[in-house]
C-alpha cells in the first residue's frame, strides 16, 4: 500500500498530452539507431499469444534516448499488453506514447531509454507483448471425443524504422505436435539458406539479414509475409466475453465486498453433433476428457476472504469447493491464495456459454490504508481475478465508495477505455454512495494490477446511517403512540 506507486499514474498525464506532437520530432531523429539483432519468440497459446522481442540496439549518434518500437497494423490491433524493459532489469521503462501513433501503415510506441546513449552505445531492449484473438479453432467443429487444434495467423517480419542487421523469429507451440506451418517464399533478398526450420515444438524463421528500415507501407507490401501455424492445443480455450466487477467499500462493516458477473464462453471448436452424457461420464471416469471440455475452473481469490457466494440466474450453485487461507500482513510479499474450484452447472463443451455471479467479502483492513495527516483513505481493488490463459473481452470495474465520500481520486494501473462517476443507492442510504466505473477490453493474465482509490469521509457522513434509522423508528413510535392515545370516535 504505497500511494507513490499510484502517483506514477499522475506523471503519465503530461506525457499523454505530449504524445500527439512528439511523432514529428521523433521521426526526425528516427535514423539515430540501428538494430544489430532482433530475436522474436512467439509463444502460441489458447486465446492468448505471448510475444517476446529482444532488440539489440546500437546508437548512431549522441544523445539518442527515444527508441521507436513499431508494429504492423493487425499486430497493433490485437496487442492488448505492451511492456518494454532493459535486459536483465525488471523495472519497466516508461512508454512515452499510448494510444500508439499511426504512421505509414505502422504503429509506433516510443520507449524512453533510461539514459541517452553515446555513439555506438549499445543496449538490449526486451519488449513483451500479449496478443489476443489471433488464434481460432480449426477444424471449427469437433465432436465430444475429438482433439482440439488451433490455427495461429500473424505477420512474419519484425518491423522497425531502423536498419536491422539480422533478425530471427521463433514460433513455439505448446506441444511438439504441429500439424502444419507456412514456409514463406520470396525472402531470398534477406536470407540464403532455408527460411523455416522445425525442431520439436519450435519453428524458427530466418535468420534474415540486412533488412532496411521496414516501418513503411512500401516495405510491408513488398516483403512482409503472412504465416499460419496449425497446432494441437491440450487445454480448453477459455474466453470471458464480459466481466462486471463491483467492489463495494463499507466502513461500518469494515468490509470490502467484491462481486463479479461473468459471462464464460468456451472458444474452442464448437460441439459437432450433440452432447451425450454417457460419453462424458465414461470420459471423466477414465479421466480422459477431451481437451476442449471445461468441466471446472480454478480461481485464485485473495486470502482472508469469507462468505463467498456463487450463483446464477437460477439460484445458488452448490457444486464448488473453496479452500480458504487466512489473510496475510500487508507488507508480506509471498503469494498466498484462497483457491476456489468452481464447477459450472454443466460441463462447458465447445461453443457453450455459462453466465454466473461470483462474490466474496474480505476484511477492509487487508486492502485499505488511512493517512492521518491528510485524512485520506486509500483502498486498492484488483482489476480482475485472473484465469490463466483466458482473455476478458469486455470488463467493467465499478468501485462503490462509502456514503458521503469526498475528494475522490482513482489511479488505475493502466489507462482504461472510459471512466465515469455515478451514485449507487443500497440498504438504508439516504443520499446514495458515489461510485466510479472503469471499463477495459481484452484483459489478459498480465493485466493483474490494482486500482487505487483515495477519498475522504467526514464524520457526519459516518453518522448518516444511524441518524436516518433512529429518526425513522422515532417517527414510527410517535405515530403508534398517537394512534393509541388519540380517540377519534364520534360517539361519546
Amino acid at each position: 500500500m504505497t500511494p507513490s506507486l499510484g502517483l506514477r499514474g499522475w506523471l503519465r498525464l503530461p506525457v499523454l498530452a505530449l504524445a500527439s506532437l512528439s511523432w514529428s520530432f521523433v521521426s526526425a531523429t528516427s535514423h539515430s539507431f540501428e538494430n544489430t539483432a532482433i530475436v522474436r519468440t512467439v509463444d502460441l497459446g489458447g486465446s492468448l499469444v505471448h510475444v517476446t522481442t529482444t532488440y539489440a540496439i546500437r546508437a548512431l549518434d549522441n544523445g539518442a534516448q527515444q527508441y521507436l518500437v513499431t508494429l504492423g497494423e493487425k499486430e497493433a490491433h490485437s496487442t492488448s499488453w505492451f511492456e518494454a524493459k532493459l535486459k536483465g532489469q525488471n523495472e519497466p521503462l516508461t512508454i512515452a506514447t499510448r494510444p500508439l501513433i499511426p504512421h505509414d501503415g505502422t504503429y509506433a510506441y516510443i520507449v524512453d531509454l533510461p539514459k541517452p546513449l553515446g555513439v555506438n552505445g549499445t543496449v538490449n531492449l526486451v519488449v513483451e507483448s500479449v496478443l489476443t484473438h489471433t488464434t481460432y479453432p480449426w477444424p471449427e467443429k469437433a465432436s465430444q471425443k475429438d482433439e482440439q487444434s488451433l490455427k495461429y495467423e500473424g505477420d512474419l517480419l519484425v518491423l522497425s524504422p531502423y536498419r536491422t542487421a539480422t533478425q530471427r523469429i521463433k514460433v513455439r507451440a505448446p506441444a511438439p505436435r504441429i500439424i502444419s506451418y507456412t514456409t514463406p517464399k520470396g525472402l531470398d533478398a534477406f536470407t540464403t539458406d532455408n527460411v523455416a526450420t522445425k525442431s520439436s515444438a519450435t519453428i524458427t524463421y530466418g535468420p534474415f539479414s540486412n533488412i532496411p528500415p521496414s516501418a513503411s507501407t512500401a516495405f510491408i507490401e513488398e516483403h512482409q509475409k503472412h504465416i499460419v501455424v496449425h497446432y494441437y492445443f491440450e487445454h480448453p480455450v477459455v474466453e470471458i466475453t464480459s466481466l462486471k466487477r463491483t467492489a463495494e467499500i463499507s466502513h461500518w462493516g469494515a468490509n470490502l465486498n467484491i462481486q463479479n458477473d461473468i459471462d464464460l464462453h468456451n472458444a474452442g471448436p464448437a460441439l459437432k453433433g450433440h452432447f451425450a452424457r454417457i460419453e462424458h461420464q465414461s470420459q471423466s471416469y477414465f479421466n480422459r476428457l477431451a481437451p476442449h471440455i471445461i468441466p471446472s475452473l480454478t480461481f485464485h481469490l485473495p486470502p482472508g476472504i469469507h462468505s463467498a457466494y456463487y450463483y446464477d440466474l437460477n439460484g445458488n450453485v452448490s457444486t464448488s469447493r473453496l479452500r480458504l487461507t487466512p489473510s496475510i500482513p500487508k507488507a508480506a510479499q509471498m503469494k498466498q491464495y484462497s483457491t476456489l474450484e468452481l464447477r459450472p452447472r454443466y460441463p462447458l463443451l465447445g461453443g457453450w456459454n455459462y453466465t454466473f455471479t461470483l462474490g466474496w467479502d474480505s476484511p477492509l483492513a487487508d486492502s485499505a490504508g488511512y493517512d492521518a495527516s491528510t485524512g485520506l483513505y486509500v483502498v486498492s481493488v484488483p482489476v480482475q481475478t485472473v484465469i490463466p490463459g483466458a482473455v476478458v473481452n469486455q470488463a467493467e470495474v465499478k468501485i462503490i465508495l462509502p456514503e458521503g465520500a469526498t475528494d475522490i481520486g482513482v489511479f488505475p494501473p493502466f489507462s482504461p477505455l472510459a471512466q465515469e462517476r455515478s451514485t449507487h443507492i443500497t440498504y438504508l442510504d439516504t443520499i446514495g454512495r458515489p461510485s466510479v466505473a472503469l471499463s477495459f477490453e481484452n484483459l489478459t493474465d498480465k493485466h493483474n494490477g490494482l486500482i487505487y482509490v483515495t477519498y475522504k469521509v467526514p464524520l457526519s457522513a459516518h453518522l448518516q446511517k444511524p441518524k436516518a434509522v433512529s429518526i425513522a423508528f422515532g417517527v414510527l413510535f410517535l405515530v403508534a403512540f398517537l394512534a393509541r392515545r388519540v380517540d377519534l370516535s364520534l360517539s361519546k
Binding site: H274, A276, R277, I278, N314, Y346, L428
Partner: protein, 764 residues
C-alpha cells in the same frame, strides 16, 4: 368462598388490564416469530428458492410486474406460453398475489431497501402466516375470548395443515388467501353481530381482495349466504343480519366483478347463485318484518306470508329456469367434481390426474392436524352449547369444510383454520375450568342427581354419557346455570387441576414437536432441488436447474420446448423458453396433443412435433437414481388424456402387457416400447451398465438390450443424474430422404468404413 390456591388481591384492575394486554402482545410476538421461523426450514436446508411448479409462474409474473409496472403487467400477453396460441396473462390470473408482492417490493425500494424481488416472493408466505395468526385470533376472540384467541393463533401458526402450503418459497395464491379468508370471516362476524355497514363494507373489500387472490373465494361466496340462510331459518333474522349481509353482498359482488378473470361470473354462474338467492330472500324477509310491524290484521299477515313464500319459490324457479336455458352457466367441472366425486375421472382426467385432487385418507388428517382433529368436535359441541349467531357460522363451516377436506387433499387447507378455532375453544374452556381457583362448597343436597351423573359419566361408552349430558344441557338451557348458582360448578382440590392441566400441556408440547418434525421432514423440500442422504451427509441433486440453465444458455431464444404440462411453468421460469403446455391447464386439446405425441410412435409423433415447431423435447426420467415422480410413472395419464380426444388412435389397454400390468422391461407391450416417451426415457440407458443388467431403479425392472434407437430426434442434453433428458427434433433431411432411411444410411456407411482393414488382414 374457598379457593384452591391464593391469588394476589392487592392489584388494581388497571394494572391487571395493562399486564394482560402486555402479556397478550408479547405472546403474540412469540406466536408470529414461531409461525415465521417454522416456515424457514426450506431456506435453511436449501436456499431462498421458489418451490414446485405454479409458484414459478407467479414468480415470473411478479418479476414482470416489478420490472415493467402494473399496467404492462395488466395487459401482458405472453406469447411463449401455450405456443403457438399464447396466453393473455392479465386476464387469466388472479393478480392479488403478484400485486401484493409488487406493492411490498416498491415500498421497500422507496425506503432504500433494495430487496431482491425473489426474496420478497420467497418470504411472502411466512410473513402472511403471521397475519393469518392474527386474523384467527380476532375471529376466535369473537367466538369465545382472548385466551381462546391466543390458543387458536398459536395453533394456526404452526399447524402442518397450513404450513404445507405456506413454507418459505411456496409462492402460491394460498399463501395470502388463508389470511384473507379468516379476516373476511372475522369482518363478516363483526358486521353480523353489530349490524354495522362499515364492517360489512370492510368485509366486502377484503372479499374483493380474496377474489383477486384465489379461486377458492367461492368458498366465502357460499359460506356467508349459508350462514345467513341458516340464521333466517332458525328464526334469528335481525336487522343487523340484514344490514351486514346486504352491504357485504352488494359491494362485494360489484367489486369482485372488477377482476377481469372473474368478470360477470358472479351473476352468471351457479356457484354464485346461492349468494344472490339469499340476498333476495333477505330482502323479502325484511320486507315482511317491516309490514308485520305495521300491519295488525291476522289474515292479511297470513296472506302476505303465503305471498312471500310464493315469491321465494318463484325466485328459485326463475334461477333454475335460467340455468336450464343456459343464461346461467351450470356448475363448472372443478366445482362439480366436489359433489359427484366420480365426475372428474370420467370427464376431466386432467383434474383427476393432479395429485392434490385425490381424496384424503385419515393418516393425512392426523399428520396435518394432530390432536386438534379430535378436539375439533368437542369445540363444535361447545359452540352448540351456547348457540350464539356466530357459533352457527363455526358449525356450518366445520360441517362443510370437513366434507371438502375429505374429498380433496388440497382442501385440507380450508378445514385447518376452523379446526384450529374450535379446538382452541375446546382447550381454552378446559383451561378456564381447571385454572379458575374458586372451589364450590360441598353440598350433599342432591345425591341422587350426582350419582346419576356419576354413573352416566363412568360408563365408558361415550355415546350414552354424551346423550345424558345433552339431555341435561337441554333441560338446563344454555349457560344460565353458572349465573343461577355459581357455587354449583367448579373443581375441588389442586391435584385434579394439576392432573388435567399437565395432561393438556403435555399434549400441547407433543403437538409442537409433531409440527416441527412434520414441517422439517415432509413439507420443506422445494421439488426443484432434491436432497439425497448418503454416507457423507446430505447431498443435493440439482438436475432440473442444470438442464433448464443449459436450455437458457445454449439454445436460441425462440426454441420451442415440448414437455408434459407439469414442467411448463418451470421451463418458462428457469429456462425462459416457449413451451407448448403448462400448469394452467386451460386447453385440454393442446395437452392431449402433447400426450398423443408422447404416447405414439416416432413416425406418428414427428409430424405433430414439426407442425408445432417443436425444437426440443424434454422428459423427466428417474430410473437412473430412483426418482419416482418421473414421466414414465405419469405416462398413463398422458395416454388417457390423449385417448379422450383421439379414442381411435390411442388406447390405454395397448400400453399394458396381455396380463394387464404396466411394465417397461422386455415384456412391455410393443406399443409401449415404440412410444416416444419410452424411447426418450431409455435411450442409451442400457449402455450405462456396460455388460450388467440395466435396472430401472424406480420400476425395479430390467431394460431390454439393446436400448431403443431414435431416428427423428437426437439427444441434445442429459443432466448429471439423468433426471432431465432433452432431445432435439431433427429438421427435414437436406437430401429430402425421410429421416429413418437417412439415419439407417448413415449407420450403414459407418459400418462399411470399419470393414476394409478386416478384409485386408484376411488377404495377408
Amino acid at each position: 368462598m374457598p379457593k384452591a390456591y391464593p391469588l394476589p388481591t392487592d392489584l388494581s384492575p388497571a394494572t391487571v388490564a395493562n399486564t394482560a394486554s402486555l402479556v397478550r402482545i408479547v405472546a403474540f410476538a412469540f406466536i408470529s416469530g414461531a409461525a415465521i421461523a417454522s416456515r424457514l426450514f426450506a431456506v435453511i436446508n436449501f436456499e431462498s428458492i421458489i418451490h414446485e411448479f405454479d409458484p414459478w409462474f407467479n414468480y415470473r409474473a411478479t418479476r414482470v410486474l416489478a420490472s415493467k409496472g402494473f399496467y404492462e403487467f395488466w395487459n401482458w400477453f405472453d406469447p411463449t406460453a401455450w405456443y403457438p396460441l399464447g396466453r393473455v396473462v392479465g386476464g387469466t390470473i388472479y393478480p392479488g398475489l403478484m400485486a401484493t408482492s409488487g406493492v411490498i417490493y416498491n415500498l421497500l425500494h422507496s425506503l432504500h431497501l433494495p430487496v431482491d424481488i425473489r426474496n420478497v416472493c420467497v418470504l411472502l408466505a411466512p410473513g402472511f402466516s403471521a397475519l393469518t395468526a392474527w386474523a384467527t385470533y380476532m375471529f376466535t376472540k369473537e367466538m369465545k375470548d382472548e385466551s381462546a384467541g391466543l390458543l387458536a393463533a398459536a395453533f394456526i401458526g404452526i399447524v402442518p395443515g397450513y404450513i404445507s402450503r405456506s413454507v418459505a418459497g411456496s409462492y402460491d395464491n394460498e399463501a395470502i388467501a388463508i389470511f384473507l379468508l379468516m379476516f373476511t370471516f372475522f369482518l363478516w362476524i363483526k358486521a353480523m353481530k353489530q349490524g354495522s355497514a362499515l364492517y360489512g363494507t370492510l368485509a366486502a373489500v377484503f372479499y374483493f381482495y380474496m377474489v383477486a387472490a384465489w379461486g377458492g373465494y367461492a368458498f366465502i361466496t357460499n359460506m356467508i349466504p349459508l350462514h345467513a340462510l341458516a340464521l333466517t331459518l332458525m328464526g334469528r333474522f335481525t336487522n343487523r343480519l340484514y344490514v351486514g349481509y346486504s352491504s357485504w353482498y352488494a359491494i362485494g359482488t360489484l367489486a369482485s366483478m372488477q377482476v377481469p378473470f372473474v368478470g360477470f361470473q358472479p351473476v352468471r354462474t351457479s356457484e354464485h347463485m346461492g349468494a344472490l338467492g339469499v340476498f333476495g330472500l333477505l330482502q323479502i324477509v325484511a320486507f315482511v318484518e317491516l309490514v308485520r310491524s305495521h300491519v295488525s290484521s291476522k289474515q292479511f299477515q297470513q296472506l302476505l306470508f303465503s305471498g312471500v313464500i310464493a315469491a321465494g319459490i318463484l325466485g328459485t324457479l326463475a334461477i333454475v329456469g335460467l340455468t336450464y336455458n343456459g343464461s346461467i352457466a351450470p356448475w363448472t367441472g372443478r366445482f362439480y367434481s366436489l359433489w359427484d366425486t366420480g365426475y372428474a375421472k370420467k370427464y376431466i382426467p386432467i383434474i383427476a390426474s393432479v395429485s392434490e385432487h385425490q381424496p384424503t385418507a385419515w393418516p393425512s388428517f392426523f399428520m396435518d392436524l394432530h390432536f386438534l382433529i379430535f378436539l375439533f368436535p368437542a369445540g363444535v359441541v361447545l359452540c352448540f352449547k351456547q348457540l350464539r349467531d356466530e357459533h352457527v357460522f363455526v358449525i356450518i363451516y366445520a360441517l362443510v369444510a370437513s366434507y371438502f377436506a375429505g374429498v380433496m387433499v388440497r382442501l385440507m387447507l380450508t378445514l385447518t383454520p376452523i379446526v384450529c378455532v374450535s379446538a382452541a375453544v375446546a382447550l381454552s374452556s378446559v383451561f378456564d375450568t381447571y385454572i379458575d381457583p374458586t372451589e364450590p362448597e360441598v353440598s350433599d343436597g342432591d345425591k341422587v342427581d350426582a350419582s346419576k351423573k356419576d354413573k352416566s359419566a363412568a360408563t365408558p361408552a361415550s355415546g350414552a354419557s354424551v346423550v345424558g349430558l345433552l339431555t341435561e344441557m337441554v333441560t338446563s338451557g344454555p349457560s344460565t346455570t353458572k349465573k343461577a348458582k355459581p357455587t354449583q360448578r367448579g373443581i375441588f382440590g389442586l391435584d385434579t387441576r394439576a392432573a388435567v392441566i399437565v395432561n393438556a400441556l403435555g399434549m400441547l408440547l407433543f403437538f409442537v414437536m409433531h409440527c416441527t418434525w412434520v414441517t422439517s421432514v415432509a413439507y420443506s423440500s422445494p421439488s426443484v432441488v432434491l436432497a439425497s442422504h448418503n454416507q457423507d451427509g446430505l447431498q443435493l441433486i440439482d438436475d432440473f436447474r442444470e438442464a433448464y440453465y443449459w436450455l437458457r444458455q445454449n439454445t436460441p431464444k425462440d426454441a420451442v420446448v415440448m414437455s408434459w404440462w407439469d414442467y411448463g411453468y418451470q421451463i418458462a421460469g428457469m429456462a425462459d423458453r416457449p413451451t407448448l403446455v403448462d400448469n394452467n391447464t386451460w386447453n385440454n386439446t393442446h395437452i392431449a396433443t402433447v400426450g398423443k405425441a408422447m404416447s405414439s410412435s416416432e413416425e406418428v409423433a414427428y409430424p405433430i412435433l414439426r407442425k408445432h415447431d417443436v425444437d426440443y423435447v424434454l422428459v423427466i426420467f428417474g430410473g437412473m437414481i430412483g426418482y419416482s415422480g418421473d414421466d414414465i410413472n405419469k405416462f398413463l395419464w398422458m395416454v388417457r388424456i390423449a385417448q379422450g380426444v383421439w379414442p381411435d388412435e390411442i388406447q390405454e389397454p395397448r400400453y399394458f402387457t396381455p396380463q394387464g400390468d404396466y411394465r417397461v422391461d422386455d415384456q412391455a407391450s410393443p406399443t409401449m416400447k415404440n412410444s416416444l416417451m419410452y424411447k426418450l426415457s431409455y435411450y442409451r440407458f442400457p449402455e450405462l451398465f456396460g455388460g450388467g443388467h440395466a435396472q430401472d431403479r424406480v420400476r425395479g425392472q430390467m431394460i431390454a438390450k439393446p436400448g431403443p434407437s431414435l431416428d427423428y430426434l437426437d439427444e441434445a442434453f442429459t443432466s448429471e443424474n439423468w433426471i432431465v433428458r432433452i432431445y432435439q427434433v431433427k429438421k427435414d433431411d437436406p437430401l429430402g430422404r425421410d429421416l429413418k432411411s437417412a439415419n439407417a444410411f448413415d449407420q450403414g456407411k459407418k459400418r462399411k468404413r470399419t470393414r476394409p482393414p478386416v478384409r485386408r488382414r484376411s488377404l495377408a
